[in-house]
């Protein structure tokens, strides 16, 4: 269980987060959505213990937490196999066991052919899969993902999303996923928290009525339309002001 209680965060006298409270139960997938720069990543970093909040309390009662960064952050001098096993090596797991675990993960993530390749030989999507595998290798019960599908084309994005859902389901992992794409959040999350621009607060909370596997495109886009129709959400994404910039569309 993760409990963030009245979290506030200031950076250089500027308020980034204000009084954010979140509870995440085991096995639940939570998506944090909101406009770019609203502090989603900051909140995720606070949840991971990478930075301390200015006010509020973080209680992470999960036994092992994995983190997938927005950029893959692979070690350029290590092969896919070594990168996958990095977390296990840090935990002191023996090489034989590490190799076995990384090969198994590579199979699940479709990276069998890339085990001996260095990161610069991998595509963006493959690199991100290695980063996901590295986080999963340590057998976490809670996974934090910061816009993990960034920079992927629509096909790769969908493929990666399905793979992630499958892996989270198989392992019954709790996850907190940052995404500025509401359709993606509706596709993946059991719950979505929409955050306002900084100083960020939670302005809206969405709860899914369907399990992820049964959410089709019609359901997803209908839900997104309904969420965006809410004035507090559309204000967050600055959708109400579009009419004041008509010159982009004219001529």
């Amino acid at each position: 269980m993760l409990i963030l209680d009245r979290i506030s965060y200031q950076y250089k006298h500027r308020s980034i987060l204000e009084g954010i409270s979140i509870t995440l139960a085991p096995g639940q997938i939570l998506c944090l959505s909101g406009p770019s720069g609203c502090g989603k990543t900051t909140l995720l970093r606070i949840a991971a213990g990478l930075i301390a909040p200015s006010q509020g309390v973080v209680k992470n009662k999960f036994t092992c937490t994995g983190y997938v960064f927005q950029e893959p952050r692979l070690l350029p001098w290590q092969t896919t196999q070594e990168n996958l096993a990095f977390g296990l090596k840090a935990k002191g797991v023996a090489k034989k066991e590490r190799d076995c675990a990384s090969k198994q993960l590579a199979q699940q993530l479709g990276l069998e052919q890339a085990l001996d390749l260095y990161p610069d030989r991998l595509s963006g999507g493959m690199q991100q899969r290695v980063a996901l595998g590295r986080a999963l290798a340590i057998n976490p019960d809670f996974l934090l993902l910061d816009e993990p599908f960034n920079g992927l084309d629509v096909g790769r994005r969908r493929e990666f999303q399905l793979m992630l859902l499958q892996l989270l389901g198989e392992r019954n992992l709790a996850a907190c996923i940052v995404s500025h794409d509401l359709a993606e959040a509706v596709r993946l999350g059991d719950r979505i928290l929409v955050m306002s621009p900084a100083p960020s607060r939670i302005v809206y909370q969405w709860q899914s009525l369907l399990p992820p596997a049964t959410r089709d495109e019609v359901y997803i886009y209908r839900e997104v339309a309904q969420i965006l129709a809410l004035s507090e959400v559309s204000r967050c994404f600055n959708l109400n002001n579009n009419s004041s910039h008509p010159n982009f569309m004219r001529s």
Partner: protein, 225 residues
Amino acid sequence: MQYSKVVLPSPIETGAALARLLTTGKLLSAILTTSFHLLSAFTLAVLMGVIFGIIAGIQSEFEKTIAPIISALQGIPPIAWIVLALLWFGSGSATTIFTIMVATLPIIFFSTVEGMSSLPRSLLEMARLFSTPTSLLLKDLYFPHLLSYLFPSCAAGLGIAWRVAVMSELLSSEAGIGAELNLARINLDTDEVMAWIAVTIALIWVSQYLILRPLRHLLTPWQRI
């Protein structure tokens, strides 16, 4: 227009001098002596430069103390070091080894400090999330990153080392390429002088292309193009 052999020997005359040096055994003996001076000194410089550089990279206070000293060492011309070393160690191998070491140490030290401080913070943060122990941080993050900085500086350092080795032997030693060069100068054997210059250039090439480059490929395979 033809120059006298004493002013500018032809390539044929230089080649003949080289063959003479080879048959008398002088060539091999001088190469071995200079290589011994160079390898001992350069190994010491790399060891000291890397060790001090790693400590300076981790401890900023140590870096603030030692960097100006090594900077000052770098500013002293090698010829001045030779004079000092002659006073301290007398003529012989010790003077040559000391001079080469002190001339190449700064370049290795500063590239190590740069390598240590330029490791991306994003990778360190990733490692921190896995509670990576310091020994593994050094082995799997700092050291490989450092290697990519060290090889270019080693290449530059080796070039300096060969030049300083020959100069130092010329002034302070009775053996080695520099000493033989000095003897040839005294005897006005310009063709032999040219032969020794050619040998020095060949040795620089060998060390760069036949030793350092394959070593780089072996130790930093991720940088292969």
